[in-house]
Amino acid sequence: MTDELADRRLVKRMLAHDAEAFNEFFAGFFPRLYRFARTRLGEDPDTIKEIVHVTMSKAMRKLGSYRGEAALFTWLCTICRNEINDHIARAARDRKHIVLTEDLPDVRAAVDALTAPSSDDPEQTFRRLETTRLIQVALDQLPAHYGNALEWKYVYGFSVEEIAARLGLGLDATQSVLARAKRAFHDVYGALTKDLVAARDGIGETR
């Protein structure tokens, strides 16, 4: 089943007042959306909380209009980005306006979640941080159980048995999930790095 199809089914179940679907939606998207907002709003927990709340509330009211043309997370990010832009516009008179190079319209929503690194970082740190950010963004772009499974395996070092227990699956099913998650990660991560390089090349050419 494609991600979009799974997302459409999830939305359909939510519209049918399926509480389990609501739980799935919140558990799957809230942490990722929170990170999306956090990378763009900085360390301002009250604003992040407000923006994420408003975003999810608006999404809830618009659920009926979700057609599955894009992944649900991308759709949520679009709403969230609009909220952030509105917030920045409101606060423009007493805040510095933040412009991220990744906001170029031709860069896909996934790249949107990256923040610009500070320019005085040493090259080595810069590359490491950039890789780390890219990986974290890629994990957030995956279906929640894929991203979680990979993070548990490679970041926390959990065994397959431990991951199986967390996913509530058997060992064979968990191995299958991990294999599919890795393939999906390769696709997303590859696309992210390619888009980012293309976007930066584009910026360089226009200067």
């Binding site: 519209l15 007042h17 999810m56 409101r90 974290q136 299958s176």
Partner: protein
């Protein structure tokens, strides 16, 4: 051999992830708060939608069985009267053992138990009744309730209430006289704090009058009630503020929102000068935003040329710098 069987060899991802830290986890309290609010909104939105669908589908069948239903209704006892509806709910709040959701209706004679949650009710006779955690209350009829445990806050909303509220307790009956008050059962005593207006506590032997800014404590075995001053704003009222009913700002002048915040917080609204007050009257708001009173004030004022500060019990409105 597949890496998923536990072997760590020949896995390029392991090197790639070598310096990756866990992704940031949202603060648990924020997640819980947003989840509660979102669930209530989702429940109200989709519950109503499903209900409409079901009602449409059932319409034809309803016509067919209408005669039988009428007969059955005549034979059955009358249903309990609806005395209130749910405006906000946080956590697990039950009525008659069933979970409450926004938009839910409260019948008389059904006990509400907030457990660890909180709920704000819109009384059918008018006014906002809010129940703190660990509260048990039963409506005997419209405008009449029995408080078995816990704390309630009632806002008659500047005299708009047609019927008022009477809260019966083991220590006496609390009657509002156009007011905002808290009634709190704690062990062997009943505390009544009045924020605005006046409240009467009726007992078998006498009646006690409680005025704005006062707390009266009625204790078992005490010869007389204890009377003391109480702040009309601040931490003790926070829980009730958080349950303030939604206030639709769209198309309304800013001054309406300011007066609403003033009423919900128990503070006094003050303008820095006449031109600021005029600006508040002239500014018409648009959009929707659902936050707690002071958060809502901050969010709305951020879109205008006005700002606010708290000065003791005052909310001071002035032009932005």
């Amino acid at each position: 051999m597949s890496d998923e069987d536990g072997s760590n060899e020949s896995d390029p991802l392991r090197d790639l992830f070598a310096h990756v830290r866990p992704r940031a986890v949202p603060p648990e309290a924020d997640g819980a708060e947003i989840r509660r609010a979102l669930f209530a909104e989702w429940d109200a939105l989709t519950g109503r939608r499903v209900l409409i669908k079901r009602l449409s589908a059932a319409a034809a069948a309803a016509v067919l069985i209408a005669g039988s239903a009428t007969l059955l209704l005549r034979m059955s006892t009358a249903p309990a009267a609806v005395v209130a509806s749910v405006e906000r709910v946080r956590g697990n709040v039950e009525v008659g053992g069933a979970a409450l959701a926004v938009g839910g209706r409260i019948p008389s004679a059904a006990r509400i138990d907030t457990h660890d949650g909180q709920v704000a009710l819109r009384l059918d006779g008018g006014g906002s009744l809010r129940l703190a955690p660990q509260t048990r209350l039963t409506f005997a009829a419209r405008g009449r309730a029995s408080l078995d445990a816990g704390t309630v806050y009632f806002d008659s909303e500047a005299g708009l209430t047609a019927r008022g509220l009477e809260v019966r307790t083991a220590f006496g009956t609390v009657r509002d006289v156009g007011t905002q008050f808290v009634a709190r059962l704690a062990g062997d005593s009943l505390d009544v704090d009045v924020r605005d207006g006046r409240v009467a506590i009726g007992r078998a032997a006498d009646a006690i009058d409680v005025r704005a800014g006062e707390r009266v404590s009625v204790t078992i075995g005490a010869s007389a009630p204890r009377r003391e001053a109480v702040a009309r704003f601040g931490p003790e009222w926070d829980w009730a503020e958080r349950l303030a009913p939604p206030f639709d700002i769209d198309g309304r002048p800013l001054i309406d929102l300011l007066r609403w915040v003033e009423a919900q917080t128990g503070r006094t609204l003050v303008f820095a000068d006449a031109s600021t007050e005029q600006a508040a009257r002239d500014t018409v708001l648009s959009g929707t935003i659902d936050l707690e009173p002071l958060s809502k004030l901050a969010a709305v004022l951020a879109t205008t040329d006005l700002d606010y500060s708290l000065d003791g019990e005052r909310i001071v409105i002035r032009a932005s710098k």
